[in-house]
Amino acid sequence: MANKDELQRTEAHGGLAAETPFGYAPSRESTDIVRIEPRYDLFIGGDWVEPRSGTWFETISPATEEPLSRVAEAGPEDVDLAVAAAREASDERWRELPGRERARFLYRIARALQERSREFAVLETMDGGKPIKESRDVDLPLAAAHFFYYAGWADKLDYAFPGRLPRPLGVAGQVIPWNFPLLMAAWKIAPALATGNTVVLKPAETTPLTALLLADVIQEADLPPGVVNIVTGAGRTGSFLVGHHGIDKVAFTGSTDVGKVIQRAVAGTGKRLTLELGGKAANIVFEDAALDQAVEGIVNGIYFNQGHVCCAGSRLLVQEAVAETLVERLKARLSTLRVGDPLDKNTDVGAINSSQQLRRIEELVESGIQDGAEIYQPPCDLPERGYWFPPTLFTGVTQSHRIAREEIFGPVLSILTFRTPEEAVEKANNTPYGLSAGVWTEKGSRILWMASRLRAGVIWANTFNRFDPSSPFGGYKESGFGREGGLHGLEPYLAWNGGGAR
């Protein structure tokens, strides 16, 4: 009979698992399926084009700090070219195409994402640091579904808005973040194309690779050249794009600070704008909640994707009567989270996306300690190389603490208490943000009462971080405006009754 001594200890993977005989041996997904080019150019007018700027920059794996590839840094001339290509495609090839034909292309892209989903998932994990379990089970299926969903709208727009004649805007400039690189590309491209627009997309600086692989899919789908153009680069490339006089629409997902900069830049230009910005969501747990499932929801809400989620449930508001037992359960659950190699199928919490983000998290956590909140972090063996932060929670937090007000964008949960539903609503709404909120209670009428009073664009009851292409997503207040997903997600890309592109 095999005994514990015969077994080799598995590599330290954080938490309980490392100390028991029943550890999970590393279950690493192979990277053979992905072929990363040593260098990528820009994707403009259906072709790969060297940047006029003559500059490329490195993209690394945040789990190992190893370089993965070099991608082009688009300068002002490159952005000019891309916008011109998008304009030409719009006028010559795309805006007058029957919806049924546009649908055909979008269906092809959806199918290709399904067929190549493992390849994309591995690449996403390598470039961004999120666990393969998430890219495989969440990012990829949602991205494919998003294209599928909007493909179906392309030839049904006349049913979407009674009394209005929808027309495309023209050319959309879209800037996306690094937390869900491929999924955000899908959220931007699919509705824009379905409604007859063409696109210039700027992926985030630290995560360009899946967007560039998407260009491959786009070519294979025979999408007419110039309908989708991809210009990689950093913040400057983004501002060239957003400020370009040749685009009709700006769509941005990212931090609230940059969102405000963009809103100022667009002022007076007549460009349409949608912003999907930051959040500081309250996850509210009542004493009659199904606590074990609430724990899962809280954990999912803030540790999923290392907390790099705009709608993360970063504030836990727990009714005092159950605060102690909930925090106990949470701490126990935290100690079973596995932090480590994102390519390991058993990893729950992957790498922090960049060294800058890691510094920001560390700074805010330090402020929490200074402000007098009590920190808890389960024992965690973190790898030497790469950017890592253990799942963290703070108790004894009050609204005045920075960790209760500022978006940390990391695996850090701030826990506050409340006594009554009224108080919970007040505290939840007491923020300039308003992206999402969670409500945990078994009482249906309370869910609906809370939902009617919470000032947030997405409210999850007895669940968290659920997304679906048919379900509109977007914020109140400084979390932005405009919706992505659902019927409402068409509206930002349409002009009405004759208005529209120049």
Partner: protein, 319 residues
């Protein structure tokens, strides 16, 4: 010294709301959200275990099997064969451990006890009017005592669902407590028959009730109705056992049965067990799998891990 005014209203006699009752009424069994629970169980089922962990898991799973035969046609010959298989699951490989127990009807206990005397394999008997559990209570208790007298070291009874589902909780509780007494030194497993309970809320309530009444193990199913163990139901019961242990200090074991046929299912249950109750529950003293055909699938996997080849059924004894 001021007089303490006498109360003008007497406490209502015969009120169900005595102080103790009021206190107890405020204690609720925690509700369970079905969608959240099922998502959690499903995500645990995607855990990947490899190499050393897998070998450990297979070995442990074999040691946790309750090899079961509960048929009207169980002759002494059949019982003897099952006991032999329980002791030496793979005659071609003496490194393979024995199972935890053999589970039979009370009338088969004498044969099984004789076969397994002096070995590590326990004799478990169903008792208490299995599988419906509805015969008169005194007969059920007598059956338990008789089985124990014949040599049963473990007794599996069913929860009285007729009482439980009609809200007669004290009655259901009382029967379990009486059965525990009737077991004497034998340990008691209470089968909840989760397939009949209708919701996870009910499963959790039944778990807490049975544990409070003295069960040493709570078990999912009789294996006699269509629905047996599922990952979600097991997770629900394990969470209840975890909370019960935290509240009372008493560790109650978990047994999954009914439809557990493959090694993959067995180690998935182990993963869920480990994540919920920790490594202290990774022992046949606190975890069992009631099964019959599962054993050969476990053996096939063990051999595959050793030889590196996928196996065929011809190479393993049927009993």
């Amino acid at each position: 010294m001021t007089d303490v005014p006498t109360p003008t209203r007497a406490i209502v006699p015969d009120s169900p709301w005595s102080p103790a009752a009021a206190q107890a009424a405020m204690v609720r069994v925690m509700p369970v959200d079905a969608v959240g629970l099922e998502e959690r169980a499903a995500s645990l089922a995607t855990r990947s275990i490899k190499r050393e962990s897998k070998r450990y898991a297979l070995d442990l799973a074999i040691r946790c099997v309750d090899l079961t035969t509960l048929e009207g046609a169980d002759t002494p010959g059949k019982i003897t064969a099952v006991c032999s298989k329980a002791l030496h699951p793979d005659p071609a490989d003496p490194r393979v451990p024995s199972v935890a127990a053999v589970v039979v009807y009370p009338s088969a206990v004498p044969v099984a006890a004789a076969q397994l005397k002096g070995t590590e394999v326990k004799v478990a008997s169903v008792g208490g009017g299995f599988p419906s559990g509805l015969s008169p209570l005194d007969q059920r208790l007598a059956e338990i005592r008789q089985a124990v007298a014949w040599g049963a070291q473990e007794i599996d009874i069913v929860l009285n669902r007729a009482a439980f589902l009609s809200g007669r909780y004290a009655e259901a509780y009382g029967e379990i407590a009486a059965s525990r007494d009737a077991c004497g030194g034998a340990h008691l497993k209470v089968i909840l028959e989760t397939g009949e309970l209708g919701s996870y809320d009910q499963v959790r309530k039944a778990s807490m009730l049975s544990m409070a009444a003295g069960a040493d193990f709570i078990k999912t199913s009789t294996g006699k109705i269509g629905t047996g163990a599922t990952y979600s139901v097991a997770l629900c019961m394990m969470e209840a056992a975890r909370d019960f242990h935290r509240q009372t200090g008493r560790a109650v074991g978990i047994k999954v049965s009914g439809g557990v046929r493959t090694a993959k299912q067995a180690w998935t249950y182990l993963v869920i067990l480990h994540e919920t109750l920790g490594s202290d529950w990774l022992t046949p003293d606190r975890f069992r799998i009631g099964a019959s055909t599962l054993l050969n699938d476990l053996l096939m996997q063990v051999r595959k891990e050793r030889d590196g080849r996928y196996q065929g059924a011809d190479y393993f004894t049927i009993d």
